[in-house]
């Protein structure tokens, strides 16, 4: 056990000693400085471990051998140990990272660094207020010294603003301390009486000044222009200290002062924190300078922790868990990001494409970014979960909104940035070689982030049951990313298959159906992956993360597990989608809609815990408060995935631009996650009423319009994959409608549509993907006549569209028949007519697809096109086989599903007599219809063959062409703007009104951001006015001036 006083001794001693070293021994001096930092880290870490394992006891240290107030009084408890560990970690690794730079600038920079870290250590540990002031000043001066490391105009200005601002703030702090001494006769925090003392004249002012100055050091909005300029002006390696070390220390100071806070100040504190969190993330929207952007994010994250500190009394024993999770993430992630920024050295985030030349750094960047945004499995995920749950428990709805909104805004710019890195045109220059001392801190931060994520989940009473194995398997694929596709694909199929096999005995009802769609469907689409050559780097980890999420949804027993899986699925699919060539904006909008939906789900799950015990999914079944709100929030969340009207604009681009086998994964499989969510929700919650209206009635109409608009838009596309993407929107609209019927037949229809949609959309996307694979174009009018070149793809498309269109005798008709009966039973006649109208519109795009691509005139440049690769055809034909079986024997599909539904919705179930199904209104026998149709067809065909024995095949242009001859395939193939007349008649429905709406929302957000950020005009005087104004406002707020 080393007494913590040695931290100060070592850092201070070495700092003095460095003064004696000459420029020649600078390397040795620098190493010595790092040694001192390492020693400090060791001491604080030793204490942390000791205190955590309860081998040590927290201890008071008095310097100079006398008792306070005449000595400096340090305290080492769990909190201090943790925070000094964080600070010393940043000190050591930040120093290591900057080692070469610091050496170049001379020993004084090492001294400044040591002083900074030493100062922060004392700031954390001290119980003496004057002492606090002194060491804050020391660290400020040291920081200012480090800021001007670069010695250009910008950093000099930044350093100057920093010293002025912190000087003023320190002055206020000092005045507060003087007042405090006047009233209490003590400078020790522990001696000051606690309670609501703010109202005692004079004494209250003292507390107010102290607290406000600490708050100001944390750069609250809007008194933080100086901080932003510092982030922008200084070297990124220095920003790490300011953001991760100083911020951490000051948050701890604020924490120490909690007992002194009056409720009104605590409220002001949380208000300031919330405002800072939202405002700085909003202002980040328009920011393009990476360091300033990170500054915004940093200030925002600290604001969030301030908010949490302000709400501490309400968070109960969860407070520390939440604060540590959020702060820990901030420290490691922000340090990592700043360090990466220091390597990249580009002043615009659009120029960051150079980062992707280095795969490891790109992955690390992704890790830090996802951690910041609270994705699993990082600590902030659990922190945010707990925070939202606790806030909901206290009925703090507006705080929930603030936190989720701020997080969302942060996601906008961070994901945009990630998109730029991954997709913008590649930089020409290579990245400079990176020395190990720059790599190491970043890698260690990432490892600690992941490790602390697991740690936090282990500490959580529910999260410890999360099944991490699928995620670990997916992560393991990162390690084997250099292997050829063939091996990785086999391993991926094997692992998904194994998981399904292990899960299978526990599956029942809907979980069986959806597990089969997710995982067996996953295996079938993965088969197409064999068509790829080379390594296909980055694909498998992400695909498996998505499948881990999908499988996790099935396995989830608690709301936390469900949400965890939901987020995983979102990340994996995002990275799959962004692999497409032109996916940059589509992936972003996919992610933003998904996140918005995820936050709605999170809020709903939070609200569901109110007046409930535990977080099992079953709590949804016995809600006694907020039930309609929870229903709506969950429905919105799930409908972002089913892409229901209004929440659909991300889908067409995302699905159309994706790779050949990714399109079916995200379209045929992923969308079903939304349906699964809706089914789970409706099973647990039933229907809900709002203002006396049933919500499912509204959902039914939404489904109807989604189906119509989706299908109509599909019919008006020129791009084959976009057509299919819109078609998915339409079909999912049917499914939503079916679920909203809340009846046996409606659910049977919806479930069978979910299954058949998975099948026909997989085959369609693969078949069209195969065509695109060969032709290198997605525009249908550039295709034509491919039936002769790609007959197997043609047959696949043909059967799929017959199923899609619901034409007997194939199984798609089952869906139509069930819906009609369900509508009759429910009495939703108008909706029913419109849904069948949507079904007829589907004929339009079905025909357009098959005609423009496979029929009509073959183009000259396609005369040597080959059939799609075998591995792309194979999964299609597996599915087609199953489709034919389901068509001929409908009860093999519908009867079991009906039995799954009966426990929940018993009325109106079908009566089966062999393959004959009876409903209340009608009847239908798939098997006999199949025989009859095939029989008639064969008879007629034989008749045709008999009469046309000597038929002669003619060439392409041998057609009746009204006294002229066809000139070119291009001018003879009727395909472009195929439904021009239809557009003329009903095109008004196809106006991009919803896209315009969301673009407007985005535009407003960015404009507001742009307007507000002009308050940061770079003038130091203006910043001082902000600070003074801030103090006045907080004063008025705290003392009831408003």
């Amino acid at each position: 056990m080393v007494t913590p006083i040695y931290i100060i001794v070592a850092l201070l001693g070495v700092a003095f000693a460095l003064g004696f070293s000459g420029q020649k021994q600078i390397k040795a001096a620098g190493t010595l400085a790092l040694g001192a930092l390492a020693f400090s880290l060791f001491v604080s870490l030793e204490w942390l471990i000791g205190l955590y394992t309860e081998t040590y006891k927290s201890t008071q240290i008095f310097t100079a051998g006398v008792n306070p107030p005449f000595s400096i009084n340090l305290f080492m408890g769990t909190g201090e140990a943790l925070f000094t560990t964080l600070i010393n970690f940043i000190g050591l690794f930040g120093g290591l990272y900057l080692f070469n730079k610091l050496i170049k600038k001379g020993r004084s920079t090492f001294i400044a660094l040591l002083m900074l870290i030493m100062g922060l250590n004392v700031v954390v540990m001290t119980r003496d207020m004057f002492n606090l002031f002194v060491f804050l000043e020391i660290s400020s001066v040291a920081t200012a010294g480090l800021i001007i490391l670069n010695q250009n105009k910008k950093s000099l200005a930044a350093g100057f603003k920093y010293i002025i601002a912190t000087g003023i703030i320190a002055g206020i702090l000092l005045i507060g301390i003087i007042f405090m001494y006047r009233f209490t006769g003590s400078l020790n925090i522990d001696d000051i009486p606690t309670g609501n003392l703010l109202m005692i004249k004079g004494f209250g002012t003292a507390i107010f000044l102290i607290l406000t100055s600490i708050l100001l050091e944390l750069k609250p909005f809007p008194a933080n222009g100086w901080g932003l300029d510092v982030y922008q002006g200084t070297h990124a390696g220095i920003s790490v200290f300011i953001s991760a070390a100083s911020g951490t220390a000051l948050l701890y100071v604020l924490y120490k002062f909690i007992p002194l806070m009056s409720p009104s100040f605590a409220f002001a504190l949380s208000l300031v924190g919330g405002l800072t969190f939202i405002a700085s993330n909003l202002l980040g929207l328009k920011q393009t300078h990476p360091n300033r952007l990170l500054g915004y994010s940093s200030i925002g994250q600290i604001g969030l922790v301030v908010l949490v500190i302000g709400l501490a009394p309400y968070l109960g024993d969860k407070f520390e868990y939440i604060a540590i999770a959020l702060l820990g993430t901030h420290v490691f992630a922000k340090a990592g990001l700043f360090w990466i920024s220091g390597i990249i050295q580009k002043d615009n985030i659009r120029k960051w494409t150079i980062l992707r030349k280095n795969k490891l750094l790109t992955i690390l960047f992704g890790v830090f970014m996802l951690a910041l945004l609270g994705f699993p499995p990082f600590p902030s995920f659990f922190g945010k979960w707990e925070l939202i749950t606790e806030l909901a428990g206290n009925g703090f709805i507006s705080w929930m909104v603030i936190i989720l909104l701020g997080s969302f805004l942060e996601a906008v710019y961070l994901f945009r940035w990630l998109g730029y890195i991954l997709k913008l045109e590649a930089a020409k220059k290579e990245l400079q070689p990176i020395s190990w001392n720059k790599y190491l801190p970043i890698i260690i931060s990432a490892i600690l982030l992941i490790a602390s994520g697991f740690g936090m989940s282990y500490l959580h009473e529910h999260a410890k049951f999360i099944n991490y194995i699928p995620l670990i398997v997916a992560a393991a694929f990162i390690l084997i990313d250099r292997l050829p596709v063939f091996i990785k694909n086999t391993l991926a199929i094997a692992s998904v298959g194994l998981w399904y096999y292990m899960m299978y005995p526990d599956l029942e009802e809907f979980r069986l159906i959806f597990a089969t769609i997710f995982l067996v469907g996953g295996i079938i689409t993965l088969l197409a992956g064999y068509a790829y050559k080379g390594k296909r780097q980055g694909f498998y980890p992400m695909a498996l993360i998505m499948f881990a999420g999908l499988g996790g949804l099935i396995e989830a027993k608690t709301t936390l597990e469900f949400f965890f899986a939901w987020e995983l699925m979102t990340i994996g699919s995002y990275f799959l989608i962004i692999r497409g060539k032109k996916s940059i904006s589509h992936a972003l909008s996919y992610m933003l809609f998904s996140l918005g939906g995820a936050y709605a789900i999170l809020a709903a799950f939070g609200l569901a815990t109110v007046n409930n015990t535990g977080i099992s999914l079953d709590i949804l079944a016995n809600l006694n408060i907020y039930a309609p709100a929870i229903f709506i929030l969950l429905a919105i969340g799930f409908m972002t995935k089913t892409a229901s009207l209004g929440l659909h604009i991300w889908l067409p681009g995302a699905h159309a631009e994706a790779e050949t086998d990714v399109s079916p994964m995200v379209s045929a499989i992923l969308l079903k996650a939304g349906l699964f969510g809706l089914i789970v929700m409706m099973i647990k919650m039933g229907d809900q009423m709002i203002f006396g209206l049933s919500i499912s009635y509204f959902l039914g109409w939404l489904g109807v319009f989604t189906a119509i608009i989706g299908n109509l838009m599909a019919a008006l596309q020129e791009d084959a994959k976009r057509l299919l993407a819109y078609s998915s929107i339409g079909v999912l609209g049917y499914a939503l409608f079916g679920l909203a019927l809340m009846s046996h037949l409606g659910w049977l229809g919806a479930t069978s549509i979910a299954i058949t949609h998975f099948m026909f959309k997989t085959t369609l996307f693969l078949a069209i993907g195969g065509v695109v694979w060969r032709l290198k174009t997605k525009n249908m009018y550039q295709m034509g006549g491919l039936i002769k070149k790609m007959p197997f793809s043609f047959i696949s498309v043909l059967i799929s569209i017959i199923v899609l269109a619901g034409i007997p005798p194939l199984t798609g008709f089952a869906g139509k028949w069930l819906f009609f009966n369900a509508i009759m039973e429910k009495g939703w006649y108008l909706q029913g007519a419109l849904i069948s109208f949507a079904g007829v519109i589907a004929f339009l795009y079905c025909f357009r697809l098959i005609h423009s691509v496979f029929l009509g005139q073959l183009k000259d440049e396609h005369r040597n096109v080959k059939e799609a690769p075998f591995w792309i055809l194979l999964p299609q034909y597996i599915i087609l086989g199953v489709l034919i079986i389901f068509s001929a024997f409908p009860n093999s599909l519908l009867k079991p599903i009906g039995e799954f539904i009966t426990p929940y919705l018993p009325n109106g179930a079908l009566v089966w007599d062999g393959q004959m199904a009876y409903s209340l209104y009608g009847y239908w026998n798939g098997e006999l219809i199949m025989y009859a149709v095939v029989g008639i067809f064969v008879a007629v065909l034989l008749w045709i063959i008999f009469w046309n024995r000597k038929i002669k095949k003619v060439k392409q242009f041998d057609i009746v062409y009204a006294a002229e001859r066809p000139f070119l395939p291009e001018t003879t193939h009727y395909a472009y703007n195929f439904f021009a007349h239809y557009k003329k008649a009903v095109g008004i429905l196809a106006q991009p009104m919803i896209s315009n709406f969301w673009e407007g929302v985005s535009e407003i957000g960015h404009s507001v951001s742009d307007k507000i950020r002009r308050i940061y005009n770079g003038s130091g005087q203006a910043y001082l006015i902000h600070i003074i104004g801030f103090i006045v406002i907080i004063f008025l707020f705290t003392f009831g001036g408003f």
């Binding site: 006549g785 039936i787 007959p791 043909l798 269109a805 619901g806 034409i807 007997p808 008709f813 139509k816 028949w817 009609f820 009759m824 009495g827 006649y829 108008l830 029913g832 007519a833 069948s836 109208f837 007829v840 519109i841 004929f843 339009l844 025909f847 098959i850 005609h851 029929l855 009509g856 005139q857 209104y921 009608g922 009847y923 239908w924 026998n925 006999l928 009859a932 149709v933 008639i936 067809f937 007629v940 045709i944 009469w947 046309n948 000597k950 038929i951 002669k952 003619v954 392409q956 057609i959 009746v960 003879t972 009727y974 395909a975 195929f978 007349h981 239809y982 003329k984 008649a985 009903v986």
Partner: protein
């Protein structure tokens, strides 16, 4: 086992009767159309002659497999529609295969032939064929909405989707016919019927003189012959469907012929009186007054 063979036999008989009736109808209607236009017109038995002529052609060409089998799809669609429907009410044998599915089967099965034909026409590679299909599909969406509304109104009225039961409910005199008991649904259906028959003003699909004659442009000889068979059976089947839905069905062949002939005359009269709509016009037309009537029919049944 015997019943299956008897059923098949009666099915063939049904097809035979309806085929000839359909051809006769064609001839007669063309004659009427000519006389209205003050021309002499064709001989009433010309449709038979046309079929024989086409089958006798010696030159036979094909554009590909879909083109070749499209007529099979087309005729299967027509025959299927006929056989999935109870043709003569009250007789087991002329109800054919109506026990395998209800009204909805017919509603969707009518597209079976349409789709197959469209594919074959498209493989022919003639732009007029594709144009015709594109127009036809667009128009289908419009009148299908009115049709569906009308059918829902009837299904609600009789609380069944079985055609046999719908016909059964209309027995016992004109007063029991749907067109009398549920006039809004009847009007909606009869308006939808106009486009379903594809006569002027809704004949943009084949549009003679414009895109001669749309989807079948490339067909000839025996293949065209098959299509001609269908052009006799398919409209007749639709007539029987409308008769069953609105006009009490038929208990014998005589009634069937009279009723369907009169129903057909409705579209013939409209056809000779009104010139052809452009496709966007016909869509807009259907999405206005017929749609309103259809909606009213449904709302009337609901409240």
């Amino acid at each position: 086992m015997d019943t299956i063979w008897i059923k098949l036999l009666f099915s063939l008989l049904t097809i035979f009767i309806v085929l000839n009736y359909g051809l006769l109808l064609q001839g007669v209607v063309r004659k009427i159309g000519a006389r209205v236009g003050r021309r002499y017109g064709i001989r009433w038995y010309q449709p038979w002659i046309d079929i024989i002529k086409n089958y006798a052609k010696r030159t036979k060409i094909t554009h590909g497999i879909m083109y070749y089998i499209a007529p099979a799809f087309r005729l299967t669609g027509g025959i299927g529609l006929l056989l999935f429907m109870p043709v003569i009410y009250g007789t087991d044998m002329f109800s054919n295969f109506s026990f395998t599915g209800d009204l909805l089967l017919l509603l969707y099965f009518q597209f079976f032939g349409v789709l197959g034909m469209a594919l074959g026409a498209a493989e022919g590679g003639h732009p007029y064929s594709a144009m015709g299909v594109s127009r036809g599909l667009a128009q289908v969406t419009a009148y299908e909405l009115t049709l569906t509304l009308g059918i829902i109104a009837i299904a609600v009225q009789y609380q069944t989707l079985s055609i046999t039961e719908i016909v059964a409910a209309q027995q016992g005199g004109i007063a029991n016919w749907t067109i009398i008991t549920n006039p809004l649904a009847g009007i909606a259906l009869m308006l939808a019927f106009l486009a379903a028959m594809g006569r002027s003003p809704f004949d943009v699909v084949i549009a003679p003189q414009e895109i001669p004659i749309g989807p079948p442009t490339e067909f000839h000889s025996g293949l065209l012959g098959v299509l001609q068979l269908n052009r006799a059976i398919f409209p007749a089947a639709k007539l029987i469907l409308f008769m069953n839905l609105l006009f009490g069905g038929a208990t014998d062949w005589g009634t069937l012929i009279i009723k369907t002939f009169l129903i057909y005359m409705w579209s013939v009269f409209v056809g000779v009186a009104f010139p052809r709509f452009r496709v966007d016009q016909s869509i807009r037309w259907y999405l206005f007054i017929p749609l309103i009537i259809g909606v009213l029919a449904v709302l009337f049944m609901k409240f």
